[in-house]
Symmetry: C2
Subunit: 428 residues, 2 copies
């Protein structure tokens, strides 16, 4: 707690604690709501109430304002729980990376800051301790737009370490912006795993009443323990409601909305599983839990670019973008196209040893370079096609393939982590 002395004294005199219902009279306005935890980013003179409407309001308190204690819940709604030292409970490792799921709103500015402690996050979800021994640590504390390939490598090593130490599951709270990219990277790097690795995010910070952090984390822990699934996946809300989740293959998932809770969608496949109050529906064959030792292959060629084709793109756009790079993934138009002028430059790049992988900016559906002239010219030039793989997943896989395979084209075309459908017949 870091309230100002005055505010702290006033709350103490009421014996008000977090979870109590307070009535605050400030000027001609009266607010009634549940006292929320204060945190380091809040102004020391501001207290935060969760109103009946579900919204939080930060109220600056001065001497003239009235504070009354209205009601004390029989048990605090979110009791800080001691870390469980389990007997026969499975051990779940939680590796924090930052992001909204581990962040707090600064009510002075409306801004969201990353918090430092995974413990703090876990303490908000006491139910986790009933399920498992929770072993949490912070690996990074960054927003996910700042996640870079070297973070994926460090994370893969940390996950492998936890799995090899016998964790029943590894949960990774992660910022949502680039969670799909990280999930794809872990999918390729970790290879065979004995237990599930589940990335979870939140679209609302964890101190907001509407936060999806706790429910996503808890659903991930339950899924990991109760289901015989050993995949790298992403678990997020599947609808705006609090009791419906989707579990996505790490290579098939994409953030498809800037702000909704159900922003994450599996593309080109159904989710690996849907979780609803009625139960868990697993929609795909998947790897099961086992005893395999994880040998993470974390090598990455970091000089790879991802480019979206657009009308008006000039050959020199492409040339400049790939100069100095060791690989390029193009999100072409439609079935996997670029304009005629580009073909020669793509051909040159490939001839010079820079693999070029074609995907589609449509996101949904497979590329097919056999239908139109442009496509066939690209095939002749040696472009690598990857069926219905997401551009973002292809980008990650190309980085990984360049560092881990002697035959990049073959590796790119071979499904290894649910990232693409088996090659289908060409149909026009």
């Amino acid at each position: 707690m870091s309230y100002s002395q005055t505010l702290s004294d006033r709350l103490d005199s009421l014996q008000a604690a977090n979870g109590d219902v307070l009535r605050v009279t400030s000027g001609d306005r009266t607010y009634e709501g549940t006292l929320m935890p204060h945190h380091d980013f809040s102004d020391p003179d501001v207290l935060v109430l969760k109103l009946k409407s579900g919204y939080n309001v930060g109220i600056r308190i001065d001497g003239a304002d009235g504070i009354e204690l209205v009601q004390r819940p029989e048990a605090p709604i979110r009791k800080q729980k001691e870390k469980t030292v389990a007997g026969d409970k499975p051990r779940i490792a939680i590796i924090g990376t930052g992001g909204t799921i581990a962040s707090f709103v600064d009510y002075r500015t409306g801004a969201v800051h990353p918090a430092l402690s995974t413990d703090a996050l876990v303490s908000q979800v006491p139910e986790l301790g009933d399920l498992a021994e929770i072993d949490s640590k912070v690996l990074f504390s960054i927003f996910s737009e700042n996640m870079a390939p070297q973070h994926w490598q460090e994370l893969a090593l940390a996950v492998a370490n936890e799995l090899n130490k016998g964790a029943e599951a590894v949960l990774i709270p992660h910022g949502t912006d680039t969670m799909g990219y990280t999930a794809a990277a872990l999918s390729f790097m970790l290879g065979e795993i004995p237990r599930p690795v589940i990335l979870v995010g939140a679209q609302r910070s964890s101190d907001r009443p509407s936060s999806d952090a706790a429910s996503n984390l808890l659903a991930a822990a339950r899924f990991a323990i109760e289901q015989d699934v050993a995949e790298v996946c992403v678990l997020m809300h599947d609808s705006p409601s609090d009791d419906s989740f989707a579990v996505h293959f790490g290579t098939r998932v994409r953030k498809m909305h800037t702000s909704r809770r159900d922003a994450f969608h599996s593309i080109n496949v159904a989710p690996l599983a849907n979780i609803s109050p009625g139960g868990v529906a697993v929609n795909h064959p998947h790897r099961r839990k086992g005893d395999v030792k994880v040998e993470a292959r974390i090598g990455l060629e970091k000089d790879v670019v991802l480019l979206q084709y657009f009308p008006g793109m000039r050959p020199w756009h492409f040339e400049r973008a790939i100069s100095g790079s060791h690989g390029a993934v193009v999100a072409g138009s439609g079935l996997g196209h670029v304009n005629k002028e580009m073909v020669e430059f793509i051909s040159k790049a490939i001839y010079g040893g820079t693999p070029v992988v074609m995907t589609s900016q449509c996101l949904n559906g497979a590329t097919n370079l056999g239908v139109y002239d442009t496509g066939r010219d690209l095939l002749k030039a040696g472009v690598i096609t990857v069926d219905d793989m997401l551009p973002e997943t292809a980008y990650v896989k190309l980085m990984w393939s360049l560092a881990n395979s002697d035959d990049v084209a073959k590796t790119m075309r071979t499904p290894i982590a649910n990232e693409m459908s088996e090659r289908r017949e060409m149909h026009v």
Copy 2:
């Protein structure tokens, strides 16, 4: 017709015409189906039957094969119709640009080639002549991955010309790959229009039984005549069935599947209209038909780039990509983010006079740079935000704004062709 002499003679001896049902015995296989039109890209020894199953099959005929006439329809199913010279029918201008909608399958290779004639396309849809006087011409005959900004300019002039000559509607058959970009360009360039301008595509070439070319074109003509709407829009199938269509604002539509008929989706808004057997539901306020003279503003700054942010993107990726450009649209992560290192370089570019517009690779939802540090730093750097505008539309609008506005930031932020929602309150 360009059958070989032998095949041509055999068909003549049967008095077989397109639309007749033939039985062909080739080796131990027998095919029965409707004779389809022969076209220049077909092998001269191949005839194409539409089977009962709905599929077309190309059969290479040699001397040993039997051909029998089974049935002659009372009226040919798709009679080539004389161009209607209308009395009081409205005049619809059709401006062909190429694409699958005006293409034929080469049954030798399974490849699709652009056809040359919009007349040929129109003749496949005789119902058009019942609705309107059809005035069709070919402006381009290219696949839409080869459409470039100069084509948009030429097309806008041609459309303006038809509208100013009194066309009741202008229909533009267009390849689907970049139809969304062209639709956005026309939306900005044409400004106020007296009658609708509707782009239509097809995901199946027009000589295939499953083609959606005819039904899309006909639905567009009907919509244009019957509804009091004067917008630039895209009309495509709304479901796999043949009687359900969606009409999209030209600035809000994106190809979201590589191959499905219902590939086109309105993003962040409902379609302008839905057409079903039950009728037409118009979902938005829109401009109505009037008498305005079109003054196309076709200026474009062509040195603009569209970049998707990806983890591992380095500042020099950005620097190289925008060097020599006069504007950049970034499809950032989440609410509109890039990594910390990029901010300085974006700031430099803006300071040097190159506007940078932020959109989201999530496609759905609005950007909001007020929530996280990265976003606020980008705002400070002068990045232009455009709410829920699609990256592709922002790219087109930036090209147009740079050539047509003295205050690019203001123009970008002001909705002018349904391309963005009115600025909403920031909410965290």
